[in-house]
């Protein structure tokens, strides 16, 4: 399919010169922890996202990686204002989203869409595919006539590789990979400019993941889409992202062009993360240098002071690491790292060493503690 999904595609009228489509500044999302029988007292905050700066250029793909609890999903939702940010700014094509009223925000959603991780739970099981795809069009008044809407839907189905007879079917009649395509079609049918993909392939079988990744690739090329791909699978992200950001406990610890990051990871956490990813090649597996981290991820309700990674960092130093939070600074062109000792570690002057294991309690350990995200509608 070489033409856009429908006539008035916004991307065709804008210059794709790599100007930033999305700018995030100092974004934080704190969830209150409440405790109490009758009246909820706020006893603390889960700092899911704690001051993130990033920029995504139009037409590019930004990959956000990290393990569970690092806040990447929350960041993705906060950017789309599906979770209200506690502070910070999100500018989409020049428009500040955090202060937008309910109605303008709703209208803006046409231009920024989301693909979810679990295609089964993100599709209403009682809606057939035609209804799923039409809903977005009706919500925004796209398509002057029924025939026009049907045309848009038909072309979208084509674009994601679903057959036309899928329209009368229900989600549970499809396989996982097909359901994910339906999710993609639902996002595409509005003609968005930005798509936030939250773990788009992790719920799929290995051999299907490649299908969907390729599809996303091709759609970007033909439609000029901008992606924010959130994933924990480093290898998959490497494959499709132009710029990759690594998150740990709510902050970005490293950000670089995809090739640069994988060629020379500078942050200790990134290095540990990459060395932990299994590679389907016995010789590589035997030879590789493993950096094993001790213990668990600290609780986001009680993050370590100073550098958040200092409790597990193999290169931790007695100065600065425990009390001073490192800023994300550009150490190489286009390569930002949040660490106090980047050059020393990279040059090998500082050597890694063993750490003691610190046990961490999961967040919801104590009784009658409620952590509830507010969904902003």
């Amino acid at each position: 399919m070489t033409t856009a999904t429908h006539d008035s595609h916004p991307n065709e009228s804008r210059p794709s010169d790599g100007a930033p489509l999305l700018t995030v500044r100092d974004l934080s999302v704190y969830f209150p922890i409440t405790r109490g029988l009758l009246f909820d007292r706020v006893v603390g905050h889960v700092k899911a996202v704690d001051g993130v700066d990033l920029t995504i250029a139009r037409g590019s793909t930004y990959g956000l990686v990290g393990e569970s609890g690092c806040g990447k999903s929350t960041l993705g939702r906060a950017i789309l204002q599906l979770v209200p940010p506690t502070s910070g700014s999100v500018r989409f094509d020049g428009v500040e989203l955090t202060t937008l009223g309910a109605q303008p925000l709703r209208a803006m959603r046409r231009r920024m869409q989301m693909i979810f991780q679990d295609p089964m739970s993100s599709l209403d099981p009682r809606q057939n595919i035609e209804s799923i795809l039409t809903e977005g069009l009706s919500a925004h008044g796209i398509g002057a006539s029924r025939a026009e809407r049907r045309d848009i839907i038909a072309r979208t189905l084509d674009a994601v590789g679903l057959p036309q007879w899928a329209l009368s079917r229900y989600p549970h009649e499809f396989s996982g990979g097909q359901r994910q395509r339906i999710g993609i079609a639902r996002a595409l049918v509005l003609g968005p400019e930005l798509i936030v993909a939250d773990e788009p392939v992790s719920a799929l079988d290995v051999s299907i993941q490649a299908q969907v990744l390729n599809l996303l690739d091709e759609l970007q090329a033909t439609l000029g889409l901008t992606y924010l791909v959130i994933a924990h699978d480093l290898a998959a992200v490497r494959h499709i992202a132009d710029v990759v950001g690594v998150m740990y406990l709510g902050t970005l610890v490293e950000e670089a062009a995809s090739d640069d990051l994988y060629a020379q990871p500078l942050h200790p956490y990134t290095r540990a993360l990459m060395s932990a990813v299994p590679v389907p090649d016995p010789e590589v597996e035997d030879r590789r240098e493993r950096i094993l981290l001790a213990g668990d991820l600290p609780s986001p309700a009680n993050p370590p002071a100073g550098c958040r990674f200092h409790t597990r960092c193999p290169w931790v130093q007695p100065t600065r690491c425990r009390d001073e939070r490192p800023q994300l600074v550009e150490h190489r062109p286009g390569h930002r790292v949040a660490c106090h000792f980047v050059e020393d570690i990279a040059s090998g002057r500082l050597q890694p060493r063993q750490r003691e294991v610190e046990l961490v309690r999961p967040v919801a350990d104590t009784a009658d503690v409620a952590v509830g995200p507010d969904v902003l509608v």
Partner: protein, 324 residues
């Protein structure tokens, strides 16, 4: 990166794979249809439906075929029934279930009574379900979609419902009777009122659970209006437990209505037969003619049983875990 005409390439590979797969024609099978299919195969459902079918049939057309009118006091007129002397004839060739204490044909009264009893049960349940679902639906939608203010609305509504629950149902019924005077409507309203909190909490809980589902978030992300999300997404997916509860409430409503009639809160007019009232009237004559109490009691039990069977079968059929 990639080449043009991706859609075609992708389509071709998928088509190739679809060789051994499902049919390309035919309509989709919605979850309701699947549930209906499961229901049809369930023996409990069939049994329940048969029982209920029989009763509904009796209620609908029975009265046209009864041998005697339900209010004709034949037995007294021809002297066969003398309750004061302790004589109430039981089943015989002309009167299959015998006479009642006023000389009326018990069998005819039972058949005609079916209509009244079922009516009471159905109307009471409808009252309870409508009011309860209205309250619960608003509370649930407000909580799930309304943000801070929505949650406050929900709290207020639920406290009202809690107060209704705190009142003993009997007390509630008697109060309503005191207000409205004993009548059929009173019984219906009273039984309905007892059911309101049940439906309210049920629907509210179900809707809150669905409001947290990811497809609701997806609809929000799509830009769908809140009202459409509530009515088009959350509500349909929250109905299953309500439907099951409806059948179970029908069963208990009939029994509760009978109890209230038994206590004298129902229709004081003795002419229209109703099983609960018949049970109530029969208590004075238990020694002379126990059948007068047994027949309505068994009829009530079997009807309630039919609803319960159907309700349990519906619960199984609508169970989301059994989805493909």
């Amino acid at each position: 990166m990639s080449v043009l005409s991706p859609g075609r390439k992708v389509e071709k590979l998928d088509r190739l794979a679809e060789l051994a797969a499902a049919s390309a024609d035919g309509r989709g099978v919605s979850l309701w249809r699947e549930a209906a299919r499961r229901l049809r195969r369930n023996p409990s459902a069939i049994a329940g439906a048969v029982i209920l079918g029989i009763f509904v049939l009796i209620a609908a057309i029975g009265p046209f075929f009864v041998p005697y009118g339900p209010t004709e006091t034949i037995g007294v007129a021809n002297g066969e029934v003398r309750p004061a002397a302790g004589i109430i004839p039981g089943p015989s060739a002309e009167h299959w279930l015998g006479y009642d204490h006023l000389g009326r044909d018990e069998f005819s009264r039972m058949v005609v009574g079916a209509r009244q009893t079922l009516l009471v049960g159905v109307v009471a349940t409808l009252i309870g379900m409508t009011v309860g679902c209205l309250i619960g639906g608003i509370a649930g939608a407000a909580h799930g979609l309304g943000g801070r203010w929505g949650r406050r609305v929900d709290t207020v509504l639920m406290r009202i419902v809690d107060m209704m629950l705190a009142l003993p149902s009997l007390l509630l019924a008697i109060s309503i009777a005191a207000l409205l005077g004993p009548s059929l409507a009173t019984v219906m309203i009273a039984v309905g009122a007892i059911a309101v909190p049940i439906f309210a909490r049920l629907l509210r809980g179900s809707m809150i659970a669905q409001a947290n589902a990811e497809y609701v978030l997806a609809a929000t992300a799509l830009g769908v209006r809140k009202r459409r999300i509530a009515l088009g997404h959350i509500l349909p997916n929250s109905l299953a437990p309500v439907l099951v509860q409806m059948t179970l409430t029908l069963a208990t409503a009939i029994i509760e209505a009978a109890a209230l009639s038994f206590l004298g809160l129902g229709n004081p007019d003795p002419s229209t037969p109703e099983w609960g009232k018949m049970l109530s009237d029969a208590q004075r004559y238990l020694e002379i003619s126990p059948g007068l109490a047994i027949y309505p009691a068994i009829a009530i039990i079997i009807t309630a049983f039919g609803f319960t069977l159907l309700g349990e079968a519906m619960r199984e059929a609508l169970d989301p875990k059994l989805r493909a």
